[in-house]
Amino acid sequence: MDHKSPLIHPEIFGVTLTFNLANMLMITVASVIVFLIAVLATRKLALKPTGIQNFFEWVMDFVKGIVKSNMDWKTGGRFHVLGITLIMYIFVSNMLGLPFAIVYNDYLWWKSPTADPVVTLTLAVMVVGLSHYYAIRMKGFSEYGKDFFRPMWFMFPLKIIEEFANTLTLGLRLYGNIFAGEILLTLLAGSLATGVGGHLAAVIPTLAWMGFSVFVGAIQAFIFVMLTMVYISHKVSDDH
């Protein structure tokens, strides 16, 4: 049950960095899968869409809908690509840990990259960082600074807390959902499935939980992108 992480600590430019090799492997796998799916799906494009192109156009329109529900398309159009890539990457990452988990020499190698708080918080910090970057770039530094004192000056501490709370909740929500799903799957497969009776008893709840995890993974990918757009529009728009 208590799997170790394959950590290495190389020293780069005089700084010791800790790398989790399993995370690196799964991040790479997820990225490659997303890249291959997307590129293969968009090889044969036609004005009259068929099959996979239809699906990807639906994904694009779906993300477009998310962006449009938060800001007008003139402002939000530039975040379209970010949204699609995020939703694809997170969805694929969420799905990766579902079919199996590979443990080798007591080290956990195969899992969802999003079942690690470091990965999800990295994405969350990136999103919040982007929201600040675009706020400064599109509204100017003074407008950006003044936004911290709106609508009342004494809201400033709350606004500061809000930034950190946003980041933490955005990352930890995703991590918690996916990690919990995998923990339960590991429990069902590892602890309940002992002996013939245990295996039989484990089949139905495992199947049910896997189906639910697919649903949760999809919902979490959607929520992550939705909140990304909410935070960005909150910073970028003038009327807030």
């Binding site: 004005l47 690509v81 890539t85």
Partner: protein, 172 residues
């Protein structure tokens, strides 16, 4: 686990390397996908949007054109019908005129023929009277010669003259 405790934020088990790796991978993925997948897909979608818009415009245009043509045809049919009616009307009028003309001409002709026949008859009668008068004269001469030959009484002579005159009158 031999984490360097002096590195900022790098406590025990804090995967700084993972953060950098994740960020890097995501940015690379974003760039690659934008170039190889999303840009072409968005391109084809906008292309389709433009195509549909232009098709709608063309359809609208041709619809208006068709309506115009229909209106034009309608007007043309109307004028053609009016023209045909006029032609028929005219033909009828001309026929009527011709009819009355021909009738009048025929009437005049018959009148003329009647007149000429009357004239001829009158002439014939005059001629007949003339020839009768001549014959009467000749008969008178013959009667006179017979009287001279036969020695007639006055009564006989009277009777004879009356007979001849009667005969002459019946001959008319």
């Amino acid at each position: 686990m031999t984490t360097n405790a002096y590195v900022l934020g790098a406590g025990a088990g804090f995967n700084g390397g993972d953060i950098i790796f994740q960020l890097l991978m995501f940015i690379i993925l974003l760039a690659l996908l934008k170039k190889f997948a999303w840009a072409p897909l968005m391109g084809i979608m906008t292309q389709r949007e433009e195509h549909i818009a232009s098709e709608i415009e063309a359809a609208e245009k041709s619809r208006v054109e068709a309506n115009q043509l229909l209106e034009q045809t309608r007007v043309e049919v109307k004028t053609a019908r009016l023209e045909a009616q006029n032609t028929i009307e005219n033909a009828k009028k001309i026929g009527e005129e011709q009819k009355t003309e021909i009738l009048a001409a025929a009437r005049a002709e018959s009148e003329r023929l009647k007149e000429s026949a009357k004239l001829e008859i009158a002439q014939e009668r005059d001629n007949a009277m003339n020839s009768l008068r001549e014959q009467v004269a000749a008969l008178s001469v013959m009667i006179a010669s017979k009287v001279i030959e036969k020695d007639l009484s006055a009564a006989d002579q009277e009777q004879l003259i009356n007979e001849y005159i009667k005969e002459a009158g019946e001959e008319r």
